[in-house]
């Protein structure tokens, strides 16, 4: 399975890929290779993480045609949506991305991750809202594998807040999935 996570620097894009990859590789007995691309600028620039998850050993580490695209900025959406598989899954940050009409058989789901994070006290939790949302909808890893992967990826004092954010994203994901059926 090929997953592209995209947005702008500072949103925790790479961390989303990192946590999903860690959950798959360490807690779900899969192979997971994360590669990333970023410009010289750490914040504000376009940024993306590429994750390949497989039952077999991953030889070629890069994406060919993404099955899943997460777009957390308009720029990332415009740039990467055309690459998404025709029956792929597209997850967007609904306040930050104004989507075009859905292409082909793409299943598109939107979440106001940043707004939810702000209600939790800090917009920096937005990536964890998105992680929960991703896992609920795509089932790329079991929820428990994801939860077990979180400790160590954020400072301990912020762990609970991030888990809360993840849970909210997960619940919303399940709701959206149920609505779509």
């Amino acid at each position: 399975m090929e997953i592209k996570v995209s947005g702008f620097g500072g949103q925790g894009i790479i961390r989303i890929g990192m946590i999903l990859g860690k959950a798959a590789a360490l807690n779900d007995n899969k192979s997971a290779t994360l590669t990333q691309s970023f410009g010289p600028e750490a914040r504000g620039g376009a940024c993306s993480a590429q994750l390949v998850v497989s039952d077999a050993e991953i030889l070629y580490p890069y994406l060919t045609v993404p099955d899943i695209l997460i777009a957390m900025s308009q720029e990332a959406y415009e740039k990467f949506e055309p690459e998404l598989k025709e029956d792929g899954i597209l997850l967007i940050e609904e306040d930050l991305v104004k989507p075009h009409p859905v292409r082909g058989h793409i299943r598109q789901y939107a979440i106001a991750a940043t707004r939810i994070a702000e209600k939790l006290g800090n917009r920096l939790y937005a990536n964890f809202v998105m992680i929960g949302f991703i896992v609920a909808i795509t089932k790329v890893v079991p929820k428990q594998a994801l939860l077990d992967a979180v400790p160590g990826t954020v400072p301990d004092r912020l762990l609970q807040k991030n888990i809360d954010a993840l849970e909210q994203g997960f619940v919303l994901g399940e709701q959206k999935l149920a609505e779509a059926k």
């Binding site: 990333q36 070629y60 580490p61």
Partner: protein, 386 residues
């Protein structure tokens, strides 16, 4: 990095990028001294060691530049430490003079180069494999070097340990030729229990104190070592020297000194060469690759096999000394050797030289900044199979 291991070695399964895995490999190999100057894309190696070392009795020094960094590493090694420096192309260039000093004084140490695109400051954040010849020939004079190239974060851990072991066994600076892609690629890395990791000790001199000669070689051509300041008479110099380590400036001594420096590597090339072979028997075309290019080539190889082409794969783990016997043998058996590398033909020249016209050789060049399109490698395989 938030894991807090009990002992120095981070035993267990981790999700690490190549840079961090290299840092953990250094710790597992007993490295407790690093001197360096930050440079993208290698900084994460130094960063991790700067955080890890104070907790495990190691020393990290951020030096004023790369010249000083490698000098400090040589000094630390003579003080008894396992020592390493970490850099990328521009810093590697600055280290060249003292890498030669390390070769001449037979100082065990590891130089990590997470390669980016050059020349000059080139592409700081983007990949390249353009320092491969510099690793071999960058310092002046005639010498032999050891260099390894990893293709995954797991190998960044494993081979960093190997680099230290080889540097101790052969008393030579060992180059660890990573690239930005492998350095910033994250995968599962399994770190074994500390006591199961094969770490080779320094070749300490154990004879009588008054008989010690710093450059009197053992049977395999490598002299045992003492710790400077440990009550032995010791003199080391970059000048051509005799067994006592004293400068002798004549052709006879040069012959003995330089021959031994080169022969200790050349004569042990079979011991040093590590490659991974896949479906070489009966192959019409063999792809030869190393580092990230070896990972990228796997897609082209898979696609070519789907088209019914008999493709073998030779992945170079040891790049120096160059596995020329392997290439020579292959050249007599296959139609074409195809080599993708992220430069305009560096290791390819060695492939061409070793093949010596016994088969066709094809370079798939790339200027750097990104990896090959697997299609380009596939095209070369198809062409080579004709």
């Amino acid at each position: 990095m938030n894991q807090r291991p009990r002992g120095p070695v981070l035993t267990g399964a981790h999700y690490l990028d190549g840079d961090h895995a290299c840092a953990e490999g250094a710790i597992a190999a007993g490295c407790r001294f690093i001197a360096g100057y930050p440079i993208t894309p290698s900084t994460e190696v130094a960063e991790r060691l700067a955080e890890r070392f104070p907790r495990i009795g190691g020393t990290f020094i951020q030096m004023e530049d790369e010249l000083a960094s490698i000098a400090a590493v040589l000094g630390a090694a003579w003080g008894g430490a396992r020592a390493m420096t970490v850099t990328s192309g521009p810093g590697f260039s600055l280290m060249m003079e003292n890498i030669g000093l390390g070769v001449m004084t037979e100082t065990p140490c590891v130089v990590v180069n997470v390669q980016r695109g050059g020349p000059s400051t080139g592409l700081p954040t983007l990949t390249g494999q353009q320092d491969m010849m510099q690793a071999r020939w960058g310092s002046h004079g005639d010498y032999e070097i050891i260099a390894l190239s990893p293709s995954s974060p797991q190998e960044c851990f494993d081979l960093t340990v190997t680099c230290f072991n080889l540097s101790e066994k052969y008393r030579v600076p060992v180059m660890f030729m990573m690239d930005e892609c492998v350095g910033h690629m994250t995968e599962k890395v399994v770190i074994p229990e500390a006591d199961t990791i094969d770490v080779w000790p320094r070749r300490w001199y154990r004879g009588p104190r008054d008989k010690y000669l710093p450059y009197a070689p053992d049977k395999d051509g490598v002299p045992p070592m003492i710790r400077a300041g440990d009550d032995h008479r010791v003199h080391i110099t970059g000048l051509t020297h005799d067994a006592r380590g004293y400068p002798i400036i004549n052709a006879e001594c040069q012959q003995i000194c330089v021959s031994r420096l080169t022969d200790k590597i050349r004569d042990n090339a079979d011991d040093l060469v590590m490659v991974k072979e896949e479906q070489l028997r009966g192959a019409d075309v063999v792809v030869v690759a190393y580092g990230i290019s070896a990972r990228v080539a796997t897609k082209a190889i898979t696609d070519a096999r789907k088209k019914g082409i008999k493709v073998g794969f030779l992945r170079l783990i040891t790049v120096w000394p160059f596995p020329e016997k392997k290439i020579r043998d292959l050249a007599g058996k296959v139609g074409c050797l195809v080599m993708p590398e992220i430069n305009l033909g560096q290791m390819y020249r060695e492939v061409e030289r070793a093949a010596a016209g016994k088969c066709r050789t094809m370079l798939v060049p790339h200027c750097g900044g990104w990896v090959h399109d697997p299609e380009d490698i596939l095209k070369a395989i198809i062409e080579g199979a004709k």
